[in-house]
């Protein structure tokens, strides 16, 4: 059976939303860890942590839009889901280690 390839695979009107949504994936992604960091170093109040998770949700949504418009295959879609779950956990892991290092070296000036 001959596979029919329809070109272009991406609709012309979808290119701009793809580029914009992919940029927002990283912008919201950095806002997630940025707000998380700011709360952890007491630059922002603790209740503002909710905004960090809100930005993570926006990141996921932007990635979903990007992936849908690009028609990513099943494997890539799963990879993107895994990446977002990993991204949710990443700052928690980093600041857990940060906390441990700080505890171990609280009185060390070097």
């Amino acid at each position: 059976m001959i596979e029919t390839i329809i070109r272009p695979e991406i609709a012309l009107d979808d290119f701009l939303p793809i580029f914009v949504s992919s940029a927002f994936v990283l912008v919201f992604g950095s806002l997630y860890v940025g707000v998380y960091t700011a709360v952890k170093v007491n630059m922002l109040k603790k209740w503002m942590m909710v905004f960090a998770y809100f930005f993570w949700i926006l990141t996921c949504y932007m990635l979903y839009i990007m992936g849908s418009l690009m028609h990513v295959d099943a494997f890539t879609a799963k990879a993107l889901v895994v990446a977002m779950v990993g991204y949710l956990m990443l700052p928690h892991a980093v600041y857990y280690m940060q906390h441990r290092v700080h505890e171990e070296n609280e009185h060390c000036d070097v």
């Binding site: 992919s22 690009m70 940060q98 290092v101």
Partner: protein, 474 residues
């Protein structure tokens, strides 16, 4: 660069590397300007310095000045980190002259000989023809000898002196950096096989070993410029290293989408490329975290003093955190998945990404190291921004961002017209190139290129003059 305040021979050697790097940086921008003019006026320097030659010098000079500045940075920080003078410094100085002389000869051959017969003599004496690493084979061997000497100095010093996390990371990173160059030295008749190995050098340099180098230099900068806590900085560094190597090595797959390699590279490239921005976000947050934490501790003492002891260098380091995230992160992520890369591959989109990524990720932090060199060479305790340094920083950054926006618009036209609408045919290429938006984007790229070059002239002037300025605390 005056170095009468330097007692360490390693730091003196570093200033030689920085000076030569700055000269080649100027050459890179000059020939970039020639190539940009040729996009607007194709007859400019026709048959004298054709676009192909201007482009060779533009992109090879980019790599060379950065490698020189990286070697200089390592020689600069080694005495501080290890607590001893660099071992084998005499050989290091000899190798500097060998390296610099080889580069001058290679550039003269590019300019004066330009092309040769399509046989082995061209590969050995004129150019190997692989983008970014076009040096002829005799120079390849010279570069290997110089790199081995450099890595030898680094390892001997690292093993003899204090072994900090920064030096340990650099030792591992630099041996990979030097070793990977070997993958770009042999020639095969099959272009797919040739490109397969060539990407080992280009990708694994810029998206793995160079990024790790930047992480190490940023760590050193944060400790020396704002007095950040070493344990904290080094913990971040190890996280960055694991993330960079974890995503960057197999992120190589995004270069194997369309060169004739097996299709499984689509999945590998997509997965690891999607992960590649993560360490860049981490590096960005790291700088802000340490800066906020250190300045916060200072403010808590009730003293409204800045913790930064080198403002121009720190400005470039902060620009590095932003630029790395924007150029390598956002502009890379735009077109890293195969579904969209099918359309963006080889358009000005790639060029936009290349300009902002090389500038944001590498040029910024290396210019910051130049300023650390000027501070040390002139015995300055607290180095402040001058009007010249502010203008230089603003013009270079504004110019590169302007070029990137212009190239992105040009790339977008190519994606829509040349690729999606007309299906990447010969006619499609020329239709895209002659579109009004593309032509105007090339005009703006040239204007912004001139702004960048003028900014560089101010930067060079500032680097030469600021050491004697009275605004600094000594």
């Amino acid at each position: 660069m005056a170095n009468n305040h330097l007692t360490s021979e390693s730091k003196q050697l570093a200033t030689w590397y920085f000076t030569f790097a700055a000269i080649i940086f100027g050459a890179q921008l000059l020939f970039g300007l020639v190539a940009a003019i040729q996009y607007v006026m194709p007859a400019f320097l026709f048959e004298l310095v054709d676009f192909s030659i201007a482009r060779i010098i533009h992109i090879n000079a980019l790599v060379v000045w950065m490698v020189f500045a990286m070697f200089g940075s390592v020689y600069w920080l080694l005495p501080d980190e290890t607590g001893i003078e660099t071992v084998g410094i005499k050989i290091g100085k000899l190798l500097f002259w060998v390296f610099a002389a080889a580069i001058v000869v290679v550039v003269l051959v590019y300019l004066l000989v330009q092309v040769g017969p399509a046989d082995e003599t061209t590969i050995w004496f004129i150019t190997e023809g692989r983008e970014y690493i076009e040096a002829p084979r005799w120079a390849d061997f010279g570069i290997v000898v110089v790199a081995l000497g450099f890595v030898g100095n680094l390892f001997l010093t690292g093993m003899k002196g204090k072994q900090t996390g920064i030096v340990t990371v650099l030792m591992a990173d630099m041996i990979a950096f030097a070793g990977l160059y070997l993958a770009g030295m042999f020639f095969t008749d099959n272009i797919s096989v040739d490109q397969y190995w060539w990407w080992w050098v280009i990708h694994l340099w810029v998206e793995a070993t160079w990024e790790v180098f930047v992480g190490a230099i940023a760590a050193y900068g944060l400790i020396t410029m704002i007095g950040a806590h070493r344990k904290t900085v080094e913990m971040w560094l190890w996280i960055e290293v694991s993330m960079l190597f974890g995503s960057g090595i197999l992120g190589l797959g995004h270069h194997y989408f369309w060169i004739g390699t097996p299709e499984y590279w689509w999945e590998i490239g997509a997965l690891f490329s999607a992960l590649e921005p993560l360490p860049l976000v981490a590096m960005f947050i790291h700088v802000l975290y340490d800066w906020g934490k250190t300045q916060g501790s200072q403010d808590a003492k009730g003293e409204q003093l800045s913790v930064i002891n080198n403002k121009p260098a720190f400005t470039w380091f902060v620009l590095n955190a932003f630029g790395n995230f924007l150029g390598a992160g956002i502009w890379g992520f735009f077109h890293t998945l195969p579904q969209v890369n099918l359309y963006t591959h080889g358009t000005q989109f790639t060029s936009a990404h290349g300009h902002l990524a090389f500038f944001g990720a590498y040029a910024t932090i290396l210019i910051g190291m130049f300023y650390l060199g000027v501070q040390g060479s002139n015995g300055i305790k607290v180095m402040k921004n001058t009007k010249l340094s502010i203008w230089a920083t603003s013009m270079i950054t504004g110019g590169v961002v302007g070029m990137t926006v212009a190239l992105t618009i040009a790339g977008y036209v190519q994606v829509l017209v040349s690729r999606a609408q007309m299906g990447a045919t010969w006619a499609a290429y020329f239709d895209g190139q002659s579109g009004l938006w593309f032509v105007q984007a090339m005009d703006w790229r040239l204007i912004m290129g001139v702004v960048t070059f003028l900014g560089f002239v101010l930067l060079a002037t500032d680097l030469l003059r600021t050491g004697k300025s009275a605004v600094h605390e000594r």
